[in-house]
């Protein structure tokens, strides 16, 4: 059973976002990585590029499928997790930790608060999987 930490915020496209000082760290949820299966390739934006809430910022590929990654918030990309180039499976192994994707300088520091909390996201997943 996938877990959804309380200190994270969630999108309906199955990304999570976590405040870290003035930045926001973004990844995909345990449910998302389970659904994807073995992650074999991650394509992330360049540091310094801007991303926009609700629109694709990258691509994640499993053995079978190609999926877009959607930005939970708008802002500027401050860091990308380069270790995923050589070890994309980290996203499966530790989706909330070492498998993080990008760190964003938010355009609006309050935007993250509008995302789903853990309980709402868990409800969404349950409705979807039945």
């Amino acid at each position: 059973m996938a877990e959804y930490p309380q200190n994270l915020k969630y999108t309906k496209e199955h990304e999570w976002a976590r405040r870290e000082g003035n930045s926001v760290v973004v990844g995909i949820t345990a449910h998302a990585q389970e659904e994807l299966g073995d992650v074999v390739y991650v394509e992330l934006p360049k540091v310094g590029s801007t991303i926009s809430a609700g629109t694709p910022f990258g691509v994640i590929e499993s053995t079978k499928a190609v999926s877009e990654l959607f930005a939970p918030i708008s802002g500027k990309v401050a860091k990308v997790n380069d270790s995923l180039t050589n070890s994309p499976q980290t996203v499966n192994e530790d989706p909330y930790g070492a498998g993080w994707l990008i760190e964003v300088e938010p355009a609006d520091g309050q935007q993250i608060d509008q995302l789903m909390n853990s309980a709402d996201y868990e409800k969404l997943v349950k409705e979807k999987t039945g």
Binding site: D38, Y41, E43, T63, K64
Partner: protein, 360 residues
């Protein structure tokens, strides 16, 4: 409603993720595609391939009847042997790719792709001269036991001496008490067997094999691993790499075409194509840039489309992004370079020797 194989309940019990494949509800993975792929390369994997169909020609003249429908030559093999063959249309394109089993000159059993069961039966019924085909698809379940430890595991469950069954040969015998056709064939590049048995016995055979192989590292394996394993071998998948518009000569499968065996459907077209030369060839390539090639991606040369990717994945054993695709003969030789368009960007690729995977 998708159809279910006799092993549907077994898959659910094992926690498989099910997907629709050619109208069948099939396990795509039990735990992880990569782990199941690795199990087949290093120990053994067990696949349910009961969705595949079987069409039988039985009676006097069965071999001749089947031979006129197939591009390979059943007369060149012995009883107890199987051959990979094309079932071709008049243009030489694949109606299907099949494995034909020669029990005798009077009994030929043809294993066909799940997606083509009904089409193939219709096709053969309309064109068979001599013996009428029978659709036996619902009479057989099929399990594929594949991997370096497959023979040892299977031998413990059958009195049939497996050392007497070379590659692409078969025998009838009992496995775990279940009457089976034991065929030393597969779709993974590893040693292994395909077992045809009555559907009512499929679950018994399935769990007997899993139990017997547990210590050896045998795992149930899904369609995901089946696809990555066959891709590493450059084995064609019907509907992806070959179809009615592509011929065996274009697909690099000239060896399954025996133009000198006598008449068969597609022969004239292939003779002509052989004389004129093919305009495209199915090659195996490796991405030298970053990304994963996928079915349908465009192949570019100097920015212009010259071909299309038919299969691609990140090979779990070769640990590289690999793919297959049709390209003009000028860029089909080993070392030739072209680009694969991934999300509107050209990514460098080069033609490599296949199979991609060589046994260690």
């Amino acid at each position: 409603m998708p159809r279910q194989t006799p092993l549907y309940d077994a898959h659910r019990k094992l926690g498989a993720r099910m997907v629709d494949f050619a109208g069948w509800e099939m396990p795509v993975q039990y735990t992880s595609v990569i782990a199941e792929h690795e199990a087949v390369r290093t120990a053994a994997g067990l696949f349910d391939v009961s969705h595949m169909g079987e069409i039988e020609f039985s009676g006097k003249g069965a071999l001749d009847t089947a031979n006129r429908l197939l591009s390979n030559d059943l007369a060149r093999i012995s009883d107890g042997q199987a051959i990979y063959s094309g079932l071709l249309n008049d243009r030489g394109g694949f109606v299907d790719d099949v494995v034909a089993y020669r029990f005798s000159t009077e009994r030929i059993l043809i294993c066909v792709n799940a997606s083509n069961r009904e089409k193939d039966y219709q096709w053969m019924s309309q064109r068979a001269v001599g013996v009428e085909p029978a659709n036996r698809s619902d009479d057989y379940a099929q399990l594929a036991l594949q991997g370096p430890k497959a023979a040892a595991v299977l031998q413990r469950l059958t009195p049939t001496d497996l050392s007497e069954i070379p590659t692409y040969h078969f025998a009838e015998g009992k496995v775990a008490g279940v009457p089976s056709i034991i065929s030393r064939t597969g779709y993974t590049g590893e040693d292994g067997f395909e077992l045809y048995c009555p559907p009512a016995d499929a679950e018994k055979l399935w769990f007997a094999l899993l139990e017997e192989g547990r210590e050896a590292g045998l795992k149930p394996a899904g369609l995901g691993a089946r696809d990555s394993l066959r891709t590493e071998m450059k084995y064609a998948l019907y509907g992806s790499d070959i179809d009615e518009e592509h011929t065996p000569l274009e697909a690099g499968l000239g060896w399954i075409v025996k133009l000198d065996k006598g008449d068969f459907i597609g022969r004239l077209a292939l003779e002509r194509q052989k004389a004129e030369g093919v305009r495209r060839k199915l090659v195996g390539f490796e991405l030298t840039g970053a990304g994963v090639p996928r079915h349908g991606y465009r192949i570019l040369e100097k920015g212009n489309q010259v071909g299309e990717v038919t299969s691609g994945t990140l090979g779990p054993s070769v640990k590289k992004p690999i793919g297959m695709g049709y390209v003009p003969p000028q860029i089909a030789s080993e070392g030739s370079a072209f680009d694969v368009e991934i999300r509107n960007r050209p990514v460098a690729a080069r033609v490599v020797k296949t199979p991609f995977w060589k046994k260690q």
